[in-house]
């Protein structure tokens, strides 16, 4: 069975929506991270889908960029998370509100 680009995009949007909802709703920083990754990969999926539809490599190249950047982001983010956990014994993002005006 042949699957059209519409299905990929629908899946991508679905994954992105789950990611957004997770970032906005969940308090655990690790879950938030996972949701961010989910959003990034949802976007990657749509890049790949468009690359296939257009028959060009630009989308695939961009997907690799996104993966590289996401990897770096996770490294830095988890580092910060560990530091915060050591200080506060908590990974709830709601506890980190030093910039409150």
């Amino acid at each position: 069975m042949r699957v059209g680009p519409g299905a990929y995009l629908l899946l991508s949007a679905l994954l992105f929506g789950i990611g957004v909802a997770g970032v906005l709703i969940r308090r655990n920083a690790i879950v938030v991270f996972m949701c961010v990754e989910l959003m990034l990969n949802a976007v990657n999926l749509s890049f790949i889908a468009f690359a296939k539809v257009n028959g060009a490599l630009d989308g695939q190249v961009l997907a690799f960029f996104v993966m590289a950047v996401a990897a770096a982001e996770v490294v830095v983010g988890l580092g910060i998370l560990v530091a915060i956990f050591r200080k506060r014994s908590s990974t709830s993002v709601d506890d980190v509100n030093l910039l409150k005006g």
Partner: protein, 632 residues
């Protein structure tokens, strides 16, 4: 530096010698002037131009003509005598070298004023004398001065009613009143330059007759405003009586003989402008007459030795303005009265100073009486000046006052009114001056126990004698025997363009007789009241309301105080509270309030919760996408 202390002691003599030298030079220049033809007596000394800007070129030009000569002789002559007197009067003052420096500065400024050839140089002198007046009125700024209670009863044995007053407010009052007048001088100067394009007297007066009547009137009235400030005429005269806070020689020199006559001189000098405007001339005459009468009335109610003389000066200046306001017929009369007044009023002030000097600086006539025996020179010289000011026949004041009154009568119109007022004032003058003389020198001795009045040293009595003699002889030296026309008129004619009097000698005789008779009545009433027959203190209590009005200077000062101080405070309060605090400060504070409120409300956005920010990012992204998708 080495001579410092020694020079300090000699300061008075040094100052006197410089002024005497100026007098000698003035006399020499005068003799040279008289030696020339009557029509060729004007010399203009061209100085360097200190302002050159576009069309305006102002040079330090000086003018020596008959009018300058008369003024310069009076100024330097009287100044020399008063400087000499000051050596004795100020002998015990710590700051006498400052005093003499300022007194010399005054003479210099006065000479600049009378010798000026253009308006700006005259203004320099005009401001210079004003500054010296201010400095010298406030000379005893740190010393409380005695004042007299107008209704106080005499308590034998102790000085009554003493309260403290200070000189600085008087100095400020003089300064402010003069500033009001000086604004007039400045505006007149601007107007002259705007219409004529020059400030030089010859140029301006040459074109004066071609000026539009309105312009000429404006210029003349503004100049006269300056005169009312400097020469203490209504409505700006109020500073002069207060100026008596200064040392007595200052009162004699600046506030009687010379500076206050600058206005009369100004009108004479700029007579071409006044002649171009009959309205302005009428104003001068009316203001002069009104001031003469008002000041003479107030003088009756004063107990302060110097205040009596101060109001007398204001009144006599009114006579001079009547004279010079009449036009060609009265210039010489006004100036003649200026000269004779300089002599007798300087003597009267110096005599008053001598009385104060010998009576522990007391100024209250209630505390004198019978001084003739202990201060004979002061007494007899004061009698001479008294005779001159009330117009005893053949004294100086008789001639000069008669000439002013005769000119007023001959002028007709407003002059007749001025004549009536002038005769009335002559009677009042005789009354208050006789009162002054009787209360101070005659009658019973009323001075407190323990006071030992004494005659002043020769350095002070010599000027009294000279001025007293001048007060008697100056009249017939400068005039003819009948008092009509005479040397000073002939002398001043080329520069002022005088008209011959039209009155016959018989009319002149009767005019003179009326004025002298009125004066005799005034002096007679004074003799009845203050000659020792009547208990004048009881009389004063019985007519307390009337007396209080006179003693309180007819409430003119209070009215001024209401309009300047009280209204000024109200306006200031309005500006401070309504305009400044509510308006200007309100706007500034409102802006600050607005920013503060915005900041207070805006900080709620900074919740510190990452998820909130993320929601914002999402919302923003959705909006952008929606815009991209749905844009037309």
């Amino acid at each position: 530096m080495l001579l410092g202390q020694r020079l300090r002691r000699l300061a008075g003599w040094l100052a006197t010698l410089t002024v005497a030298a100026a007098f000698a030079i003035a006399v020499a220049a005068f003799i040279e002037l008289v030696g020339r033809d009557a029509e060729a007596r004007t010399t203009v000394l061209r100085g360097y131009a200190f302002i050159t800007s576009g069309d305006l070129r102002v040079a330090f030009d000086l003018r020596w003509d008959q009018l300058s000569a008369v003024m310069a002789l009076v100024v330097t002559g009287v100044s020399s005598l008063i400087h000499l007197y000051s050596i004795g009067y100020m002998a015990h003052d710590d700051r006498r070298e400052t005093f003499f420096a300022w007194l010399n500065l005054f003479v210099a400024a006065m000479l600049v004023l009378v010798l000026a050839q253009n308006f700006l140089v005259m203004f320099i002198g005009w401001e210079g004398v004003g500054l010296c007046s201010y400095l010298l009125i406030g000379f005893w700024f740190n010393r409380p001065l005695p004042v007299v209670n107008p209704l106080g009863r005499l308590v034998p044995g102790e000085p009554d009613d003493r309260q403290e007053v200070w000189a600085p407010p008087a100095a400020k009052k003089a300064f402010l009143a003069n500033r009001i007048g000086d604004v007039g001088f400045l505006l007149a100067m601007f107007l002259v330059f705007a219409t004529v394009g020059s400030l030089d007297f010859d140029v301006v007066f040459g074109r004066a007759s071609g000026l539009a009547t309105g312009t000429a009137t404006a210029i003349a009235l503004l100049l006269f405003l300056a005169c009312t400030g400097k020469s203490a005429q209504f409505p700006l005269y109020v500073w002069l009586p207060d100026a008596m806070a200064g040392p007595t020689p200052v009162s004699a020199l600046i506030h009687a003989a010379t500076m206050v006559t600058a206005g009369v001189f100004l009108v004479s000098r700029t007579h071409a402008l006044f002649e171009a405007s009959p309205t302005a001339q009428t104003v001068v005459v009316v203001v002069g007459a009104f001031t003469a009468l008002l000041a003479a009335l107030i003088a009756i109610g004063q107990d302060d030795l110097k205040k009596i003389l101060a109001y007398s000066t204001v009144s006599q200046l009114g006579y001079m303005f009547i004279g010079v306001g009449l036009g060609p017929i009265g210039y010489a009369a006004g100036l003649f009265h200026l000269v004779t007044h300089a002599f007798f009023k300087a003597q009267l002030f110096l005599g008053a100073g001598s009385v104060m000097h010998g009576n522990d600086d007391d100024v209250d006539v209630k505390h004198f009486g019978g001084l003739w025996a202990v201060m004979p020179v002061t007494f007899w010289t004061t009698v001479l000046a008294w005779a001159a000011i009330i117009g005893v026949p053949f004294t100086a004041g008789f001639y000069s006052k008669d000439q002013v009154l005769a000119a007023a009568f001959d002028h007709g119109g407003v002059g007749r009114l001025a004549w009536v007022v002038g005769v009335l004032t002559a009677g009042l003058t005789a009354f208050y001056m006789s009162r002054y003389l009787f209360l101070t020198f005659l009658g019973e001795r009323r001075w407190p126990e323990g006071r030992h009045p004494h005659e002043s040293p020769p350095v002070m009595t010599l000027p009294l004698v000279v001025l007293g003699l001048l007060a008697v002889v100056a009249g017939f030296v400068l005039s003819t025997f009948t008092g009509q026309g005479g040397r000073i008129q002939t002398f001043l004619e080329p520069v002022l363009g005088l008209e011959a009097h039209e009155g016959t000698s018989a009319a002149a005789f009767w005019l003179s007789a009326v004025a002298t008779g009125t004066a005799a009545v005034g002096a007679g009433i004074a003799w009845l009241l203050y000659g020792g027959r009547v208990d004048w203190l009881a009389l004063r209590v019985r007519f307390a309301p009337a007396w209080r009005a006179l003693a309180e200077r007819l409430y003119v000062d209070q009215v001024y105080e209401f309009f300047t101080v009280t209204l000024g405070r109200a306006v200031a309060a309005f500006l401070a509270v309504t305009v400044d605090q509510r308006g200007i400060d309100g706007a500034v504070n409102g802006v600050a309030e607005l920013v503060g409120t915005a900041a207070r409300d805006g900080r709620r956005l900074q919740s510190g919760l990452v998820r909130t920010y993320a929601l914002g990012v999402l919302g923003g992204a959705v909006l952008i996408v929606a815009f991209l998708v749905f844009r037309p």
